[in-house]
């Protein structure tokens, strides 16, 4: 069997060591490049943070709507109902992960909120915490993108875009689950 670290220059390093280097090295590179090119990195940073502020403020309302929905669903024990229906088929996964898989293509906010719940319940570095992060990172919200992009130019018939998008989501999520189980 091939092992992850065989692919990288770190030799004996593990995924953990490698991934911990990612951010600092990236930042260091940026500092170096901005110095060489004479770019005002400080101003750029401040501007980016300002934009980030606007961005998060603009998604706050939809985030609240999603958290409300999830709390209500949770309160009525509907997640348990859903997973009771699916779990005979896929018994090795907890109900929160299954619910997240269902929500991922529909709403990025909902699956993100579920991911945080999983991180809280199982721990961010646990198997399921990692799995939830991988699932969240494996695809984007198909329904949102399709609705937004096609409606922006007035297209009514979307041909097979939805099916291809959902198929890709499905493959991504299945890959996420299997890869996590295999490499964790």
């Amino acid at each position: 069997m091939l092992v992850w670290q065989d692919f990288f220059w770190t030799g004996g390093g593990t995924i953990a060591e490698l991934s911990q280097m990612l951010l600092p090295v990236f930042f260091l590179m940026l500092c170096a490049v901005s110095l060489i090119q004479g770019i005002n990195a400080y101003d750029a940073f401040v501007k980016g943070v300002k934009d980030g502020m606007k961005l998060t403020v603009s998604i706050f309302p939809s985030l609240m709507a999603m958290i409300l929905l999830i709390n209500l669903l949770d309160c009525a024990e509907l997640f348990d109902l859903l997973s009771d229906m699916i779990s005979p088929m896929i018994s090795f996964l907890p109900s929160e992960i299954l619910a997240m898989c269902c929500f991922r293509p529909i709403s990025g906010g909902a699956s993100m909120a579920l991911m945080v719940q999983i991180l809280r319940t199982f721990g961010a570095d646990s198997l399921y915490g990692t799995m939830a992060s991988v699932i969240q990172g494996s695809t984007d919200t198909t329904l949102y993108v399709i609705a937004l992009y096609f409606s922006s130019v007035g297209i009514k018939k979307i041909k097979n875009a939805l099916w291809i998008g959902l198929f890709a989501d499905f493959v991504g999520i299945v890959a996420a689950i299997f890869l996590t189980v295999h490499f964790f």
Partner: protein, 189 residues
């Protein structure tokens, strides 16, 4: 989205009431403001930070470089679009910004790309082949670096924040590949 939201909210309210859980439902509704705030605050702070870093990357021309690297690849993916068409530039920028996990920052360039693709489109009401390919690239696009997920993992006290990354990159590649292959097989036969 509206329909899903209203119906699911309604169903859970109904279920909750039927199960005699009015007190819990009430608690959820009263606390939702504080809950959302607690949930969002750590994320807002970390997202702001990463947005700052990404802005430096953009200023340094890292994003432009990646876009140039993608050019030959884009010409292959969109055979219906002339190779010097402005839509390809926007598609490239969109893919690159998505790669860095800045989904919301990618939206403006994505909308521009759709606008230009629509100019090439013969039937203005129906999606063209390049549009479908672009949508697939966008929804199943390769994400190298999701600032949101990293932010939440940090907020939840992860010791190794980026541990999920190699696995996420691998599965996102699977998703993109599957989507593109299906698109090829279905629409370009």
């Amino acid at each position: 989205m509206n329909l899903i939201w209203v119906i699911l909210c309604g169903i859970s309210l109904l279920f909750g009431l039927l199960k005699n859980r009015a007190d819990l439902l009430n608690q959820v509704l009263v606390q939702i403001g504080m809950d959302t705030f607690d949930f969002a605050l750590p994320v807002i702070v970390t997202t702001c930070f990463f947005n700052g870093i990404m802005e430096i990357a953009r200023e340094c021309g890292v994003l432009d470089q990646l876009q140039k690297l993608l050019q030959p690849f884009l010409n292959k993916l969109f055979p219906d679009v002339p190779s010097d068409h402005p839509s390809l530039g926007y598609i490239g920028a969109n893919i690159v910004i998505n790669m860095f996990g800045l989904g919301f920052a990618a939206t403006p360039s994505g909308l521009k790309a759709m606008e230009h693709l629509q100019k090439l489109n013969h039937d203005k009401k129906q999606a063209s082949r390049p549009m479908v390919t672009f949508l697939v690239l966008n929804t199943a696009g390769v994400t190298l670096f999701s600032t949101n997920i990293i932010a939440y993992r940090m907020a939840e006290g992860s010791v190794d924040v980026t541990r999920y990354l190699p696995l996420a990159i691998a599965s996102t590649c699977c998703a993109s590949l599957a989507g593109l292959l299906l698109d090829r097989w279905w629409n370009y036969r």
